[in-house]
Symmetry: C2
Subunit: 367 residues, 2 copies
């Protein structure tokens, strides 16, 4: 497959020791050797991947004339690989794409061997990196970021802990919700696809937590993770993404798992914006959470849906408050400042939030 | 876009006069002229596309050194374009792919401007052609058949009649059902995606029939048609496809619309195979058709689901019996013979049917 996409010199990019310990890295490298494809290694990607290693990777690619990047790992490794892929063929600083929102129109081809079902980066045109100079966590996108191929073997995810699995499920559900809450009317296909994936997560998450080796549940979660973020569920509809923006400052500051941060932020964001479109939240409550519609008091239905969502996250071991996450109320001004949100630079397509809104949502998380 | 995929000499392939009358063909050709891409035309594709025009197209491509095929039309035009694309770069008879089931590993690049939401050929690696020598209707597949790009503009489908629209919806629903009825266990993601698309069709079909210019409903049907057949709903699960096989002989013999034939065959096929997996039919009935589960008599639930499916098809103007389709009971032996199904050459992945089963299903359609 690497050859098919023109790869002759590969950068094998990975994270910590787990892919070495499990033997996966050797399997991948043996496969490259068998095809007589030369490669160089770059490990050390951390969760919430950093700019430092990206710069290192770019330099390595240039020095070694790398023409293909193979990411072996989860979303962090893949996002880091994408950043290197863009930087290696860009004259300026790769961070331009992330800080200025320039669409990525040129990058080395990237492919993935996925080990965590969560980020959906294996099928998406997106990448998120934290710049160590200021700890800003920002995203970049572009079709050249979409992997040429991704190997999704559910067996590789069976070694994940219950906590890692739950973080992944939360991230997947968040990717769906960011698309689900939209101002675009009459988007029945994508609504139904979103709802189907959410219901699958509700069904499968407790099963992998009860039995980490449940192959079928792992497989369903892995495929849902791809479908949740390759945008098949987002075509032709406005999307929100404020919760992701608000969360990014948490994982940038506390280095917590992105999924855990989302579990805290997303239900509080829902409560905060609920009145913007109570009918949509009723649809969410009735179709996804099987809440009986209270036609006399629709807001009760909407609230009950959010309550069940939070209860579900809690039941799979996710934190749902600042205290449970280990975040501090006194850091809120810093978090708001880091987000760079203001009256002019709002965040969120469903309800555009300013800095005051963001602060209020962080405060709701402390109650 | 044509240039991006290396097209320098294009075959513009289309059907009858409607794309001329509507001005669509001129718009497409003007766009090619504006990019200074030269092209040749080949019109005349009929529903249930035939081998004769395919041979003509192959010859034209070779003579004119065509390196890209642009299909402007519905599934028939696209399927014909794919057959030409394969034949133009194949030393033997293009029909080898269709008669012998050889995977199509080489073809000219094909792209589409879609005018009918139905076949899903705009996103699929499949093509179905009827050979005039014997009127055999057969399919071929291969990744090189997947269009390089497809332009899906719902406005182009607003001129379809209620009957054409209903045939399209039926075909879309059939593509989902062929994947839904599977022996693979624990395929929750794809089950839910299938159910979501089916529910969307139930919601949207009556709306386009009531108002052909309902843009939102047209858009949802168009996007569902793509998702129903690009295999996002079929990943990792066995599939059936007997109903399509059984139907193909109807449209080959009577030249009826494929969707209309499916409306007759599919519910009868369901009744015939129901007992193979009553639970799956109960899931179909409860999740898609909102049937209350009869726990004491599950088969009642299953039957009620099929009944509602047939009633729905009837309500959108589809034939549901041989008589309504204009098919004749006395032709059944011919139909069975043409299908080339036997005890050794069975049809269907969910329940492998032999010639006697196929005959019984045709007979059920006459009751």
């Amino acid at each position: 497959m690497v050859k098919r996409f023109g790869g002759t010199k590969v950068l094998v990019h990975f994270g910590g020791g787990s892919v070495k310990k499990s033997g996966l890295l050797s399997r991948v490298e043996d496969a490259l050797k068998a095809e007589e494809i030369s490669f160089v290694e770059l490990g050390g990607v951390k969760p919430n991947p950093r700019s430092g290693l990206v710069y290192e990777g770019i330099e390595l690619c240039r020095k070694e004339n790398v023409d293909f990047i193979l990411a072996v790992g989860g979303g962090s490794v893949i996002d880091s690989a994408k950043a290197i892929a863009a930087g290696a063929v860009y004259d300026g600083d790769f961070w331009d794409y992330y800080s200025k929102g320039i669409p990525v129109d040129k990058a080395l081809p990237v492919a993935t061997v996925l080990t965590i079902a969560a980020a959906g980066s294996e099928g998406s045109p997106d990448s998120v990196i934290t710049h160590e100079d200021g700890m800003y966590k920002r995203g970049a996108s572009g079709e050249s970021f979409r992997p040429k191929f991704s190997i999704l073997n559910p067996e590789l995810t069976c070694t994940l802990s219950a906590y890692q699995s739950a973080c992944g499920v939360t991230d997947i559900m968040a990717h769906i919700c960011e698309r689900y809450f939209t101002n675009t009317k009459e988007v029945e296909v994508t609504d139904r696809l979103c709802e189907g994936l959410l219901k699958t997560m509700i069904h499968e998450a407790p099963r992998v937590i009860a039995d980490p080796n449940n192959y079928e549940a792992r497989a369903n979660i892995m495929w849902a993770g791809m479908a949740a973020h390759n945008n098949i569920c987002g075509v032709g509809r406005g999307q929100d993404w404020a919760s992701h923006g608000i969360e990014h400052e948490l994982s940038a500051l506390y280095d917590c798992a992105h999924g855990a941060g989302l579990a805290v932020i997303m239900p509080h964001w829902m409560e905060y914006v609920m009145n913007h479109d109570i009918n949509r939240f009723c649809q969410f409550a009735t179709r996804v959470w099987d809440v009986d519609m209270d036609f006399a008091n629709p807001e009760n239905t909407a609230k009950e849906g959010i309550k069940r969502f939070r209860k579900f996250l809690s039941s799979i071991g996710m934190p749902v408050t600042f205290a449970e996450l280990g975040a501090k109320e006194e850091d809120i001004p810093t978090l708001v400042k880091q987000s760079q949100v203001s009256d002019k630079n709002r965040m969120g397509g469903f309800v555009p939030l300013d800095d005051k809104d963001v602060e209020k949502i962080y405060r709701l998380c402390c109650e």
